[in-house]
């Protein structure tokens, strides 16, 4: 992000592939917000690495021209950390699904938050496994009927916000796929935040979730910012994050300055790992330890 003056148009991200998401899918809003967030931050298609999970959300790379990594289902965050530690000047953003990063990859979320690498996670929270045609995801709410829960979900949903909070994430926000300006702003804040930031995006899946529609969310969502909420307290954040059903807050829940994992790594003090000389040449002292 050394060229912050550069003008980046969202057109720069265009590819020859048109989105294949279902018409009306919340992923469109997330995608649009992400493009404007990046262009607003002057991050062009060569300037960042986006790491995608496997799921409908992850299909985004096909119509999002940046350096992209589409790896294994559930594994965005380890890849992101490996990249970041090797080149901490590169903005690294993970685009993950709720199945992807709370089901298969739940462990990585906790541990990424714990380490606080300077990475942003955009979590497509649609309560389903979209791409595998509609099983319940870990955030699916009780009673929700899906292919894998024909009698309705009975487990408690996972709350990505409280989970991230308890695991040590230093920027925790919730956005809504139906609110592109608001989401764009949150994404920018998250990307600018030094440390592990997560934006949980409420994303209607129009094909497999007939309950949590745009409408459903709009009737319930309220802005934390407008309420004058100050996101600097874990316990307050926890309280707000537990709200659901009647009133659903969005915005920044918690924010904290803490050293990033890169800042704490002594090898990175003098610059990114990719720029340091390759191969240890002076081994005399090292070898003498063994004599």
């Amino acid at each position: 992000m050394d060229e912050t003056k550069k003008i980046v148009s969202t057109e720069e991200f265009k590819t020859h592939i048109l989105p294949t998401w279902c018409p009306g899918c919340g992923d469109f809003g997330i995608w649009t917000s992400l493009k404007s967030a990046l262009s607003g931050l002057s991050i062009g298609s060569d300037d960042a690495l986006l790491i995608y999970g496997i799921g409908c959300h992850g299909n985004m790379y096909s119509w999002m021209k940046t350096y992209g990594f589409t790896g294994l289902h559930g594994r965005t965050l380890p890849v992101a950390q490996g990249v970041k530690v090797s080149n901490h000047e590169l903005p690294v953003i993970a685009i993950a699904g709720d199945g992807d990063c709370l089901g298969e990859g739940g462990n990585h979320l906790i541990h990424a938050a714990k380490r606080n690498p300077d990475i942003t996670l955009i979590l497509h929270d649609n309560q389903v496994y979209g791409l595998t045609t509609g099983q319940a995801s870990p955030t699916a709410k009780v009673g929700f009927k899906t292919k894998s829960t024909p009698e309705g979900v009975t487990d408690e949903p996972i709350n990505p916000l409280t989970l991230a909070l308890t695991a040590g994430a230093t920027f925790i926000a919730r956005g809504f796929a139906g609110d592109i300006p608001g989401l764009t702003k949150l994404m920018q804040e998250a990307i600018l935040h030094k440390g592990f930031s997560i934006v949980d995006v409420l994303q209607p899946c129009v094909s497999f979730d007939k309950i949590h529609t745009y409408q459903w969310y709009r009737q319930r969502l309220y802005s934390l910012e407008k309420e004058g909420y100050v996101p600097d307290n874990k316990i307050e954040a926890f309280k707000r994050a537990l709200e659901w059903e009647e009133k659903i807050p969005f915005g920044v829940f918690y924010k904290e300055d803490r050293m990033t994992s890169e800042e704490r790594e002594s090898a990175l003090a003098s610059g990114p790992l990719i720029k340091s000389p390759v191969g240890v040449k002076d081994v005399e002292a090292l070898l003498c330890e063994f004599i």
């Binding site: 890849v79 590169l90 541990h111 002594s266 990175l268 240890v280 070898l287 004599i291």
Partner: protein
């Protein structure tokens, strides 16, 4: 006075940390005097308790493996005498504390009973009971006929950082053990070593540390390793030296995170590795397949131990050759190497990083408990030579931006396309685990899929051009061949050298595979086609190398020697088994 060129020494006692380090200190004393040594330890998968032993073989000339028979046994408890009495050579020196036993368990044996009051001596210097080892070390050096000074120097180097008081205390106690033996057992000369000449500095270093040294010399910058026996020593090595060497070691939450972190680092442009044992490797196999698809270099240290499942974590086996070869969903190229000793670990690891970059593939280096946790003596020069680092096909910044960059360019003749690094202007592409086109865009077009799969499989052919044949020892024209891979070679070589490669009157050659896959079909076919008798020797139960040989050459091994007790082969067990099979 009769002296010997080779002595095998064993110390046994309850777990604690002293025993292992006493092996190291003895070894260092010997190598500083010019001897060759080898140190192994055996211990149960427990932190404390249980029986621990360290064995050191000391020789004035180079050798490849431990012997079974002992010249000196040092018993820090009674159990040691009972458990190891059958390993004693006639005349062997047995050292024990009269407080623990009167040595009556060895009454009928032809051995030199040499009680040394470890405990009392330690106590007389106000030492902790754990320092009995130090007395034993001093005593050992005396029995070996070596100068006390070298040991004292080693102790100095070992304890210096703890302050001069601690250092002096340890030296004092060692000296007391030495003096006791000199004054009391001057007639016990059974274990006296022939003097030797020191030609160059030798390191006392375990296999995992060799792996680490080789990796950093080869340009490793990032390692993500979840703890697991028998690769924990590489974690300590990398963590301890991260700062001074300017590299990063990360402890991932699990092995899946480990391999994915390493792939992220690889994509970002740095040489990276993981290390694990079989169970953790199983968890990494999906990530290996990803490396194959994304064409990302990565080096995997697969430290084998006794399986299946958790098995016997602190014992040795070679049970994962086939698993390594076939690991990961779908079809993609990889290389599997299997060094047999410390020098080969060094060369294979340097080679592994080179090959991984050259072919943009995962390279698995098979190690095992035996080689990783044993301490080898290796001339310093082995590690300090020049290493040419070639990152393989990397696109230059200047070549970018003219036309669309094709990361997965299909027109390359060897299947390997130049890669860009995220952040390079004009180098945009997708590292895509879905089947993809030349830029990385997803595709399901049959023709593109076929070409891209062929590109990856083409690497198998490209690799065939650099494949290494097995090392051949003995007369290449012998009609009897032994085959083995990895660390089994030590015992086999010592066995064959002891009989000058003539067994039951017949000339025998050995094929040792340090390169296992892609299989060196051509050379092996040639080496084995006129051979009547092939005896395959493996530290596992299903003779996996023999299967490979058959699969690729059609040639069946006529005999299969297996061992899966967790104990490594010894020259004697090998020789006996070979004779039996002839």
């Amino acid at each position: 006075m009769d002296t010997r060129s080779t002595v095998t020494w064993k110390i046994g006692g309850e777990a604690g940390y002293g025993i292992i380090s006493s092996g190291t200190m003895l070894a260092r004393s010997c190598t500083r005097l010019g001897y060759h040594i080898f140190v192994t330890n055996e211990y149960p998968s427990l932190i404390r308790g249980g029986h621990n032993i360290v064995t050191v073989k000391i020789s004035s000339s180079p050798f490849h493996a431990l012997d079974e028979d002992l010249h000196i046994l040092v018993a820090l408890n009674k159990e040691t005498l009972e458990l190891h009495k059958d390993e004693l050579l006639p005349g062997a020196v047995v050292v024990f504390d009269p407080k623990d036993t009167d040595g009556s368990e060895l009454k009928t044996r032809d051995v030199a009973l040499c009680p040394v009051p470890f405990f009392e001596i330690t106590k007389s210097f106000n030492g902790e009971p754990v320092m009995r080892n130090t007395v034993a070390l001093g005593a050992t050096v005396a029995f070996l006929g070596l100068p006390a000074e070298t040991l004292l120097e080693v102790i100095k180097d070992q304890f210096e950082h703890k302050g001069s008081e601690v250092m002096a205390h340890n030296q004092e106690i060692a000296r007391a053990g030495y003096d006791y033996v000199i004054s009391k057992y001057s007639t016990v000369t059974f274990a006296k070593l022939k003097t030797t000449q020191k030609s160059e500095d030798q390191l006392i270093i375990n296999g995992s540390e060799v792996f680490g040294v080789a990796a950093v010399r080869a340009g490793l910058k990032f390692a993500a390793i979840y703890p697991m026996t028998p690769i924990n020593a590489i974690i300590s090595f990398l963590a301890d030296h991260a700062k001074s060497l300017g590299i990063v070691y990360k402890q991932p939450e699990d092995e899946i995170a480990g391999i994915n972190m390493a792939l992220g680092a690889s994509l970002a442009g740095v040489r990276s590795m993981v290390a694990t044992s079989g169970g953790g490797f199983a968890l990494m196999t999906e990530g290996l397949s990803l490396a194959g698809m994304l064409e990302l270099p990565v080096v995997v240290d697969l430290g084998m131990r006794v399986g299946p499942a958790t098995g016997m974590p602190t014992w040795t086996e070679q049970g994962e050759l086939q698993f390594a070869i076939h690991s990961g969903q779908g079809e993609f190229p990889k290389i599997v190497l299997a060094p047999g000793n410390a020098r080969q670990i060094f060369s294979c690891v340097v080679e592994a990083f080179h090959l991984a970059d050259k072919f943009q593939i995962p390279v698995i280096v098979l190690t095992d408990k035996y080689m990783n946790e044993s301490q080898w003596c290796v001339p310093k020069s082995v590690f300090s030579g020049d290493i040419v680092i070639d990152r393989g096909k990397m696109v230059h910044a200047l070549d970018l931006g003219k036309e669309i960059f094709k990361r997965y360019d299909l027109s390359v003749p060897d299947g390997v396309s130049p890669r860009s690094i995220p952040g390079m202007k004009g180098g945009q592409f997708f590292a895509n685990s879905y089947e993809h086109d030349e830029i990385g865009y997803v595709t399901e077009e049959p023709a593109v899929r076929e070409k891209m799969a062929q590109k990856r499989l083409l690497k198998f052919q490209s690799i065939q051009k650099v494949v290494r044949p097995p090392d051949v020892y003995g007369d290449p024209k012998s009609e009897i061949a032994l085959t083995c891979f990895g660390s089994t070679v030590g015992a086999v070589l010592d066995a064959l050298e002891s009989v000058q490669y003539i067994v039951s009157g017949k000339s025998v050659k050995l094929l040792h595979f340090t390169w296992c896959f892609p299989f060196p079909t051509e050379s092996v076919t040639e080496l084995l086609s006129d051979v009547k008798t092939i005896i395959d020797i493996e530290q596992n139960g299903t003779s996996q190398l023999a299967s490979l040989i058959r699969e690729y050459t059609g040639i069946a091994c006529t005999h299969k020697i297996t061992r899966f007790s967790g104990r490594p082969f010894t020259p004697k067990t090998v020789l006996e088994a070979v004779i039996q099979n002839l």
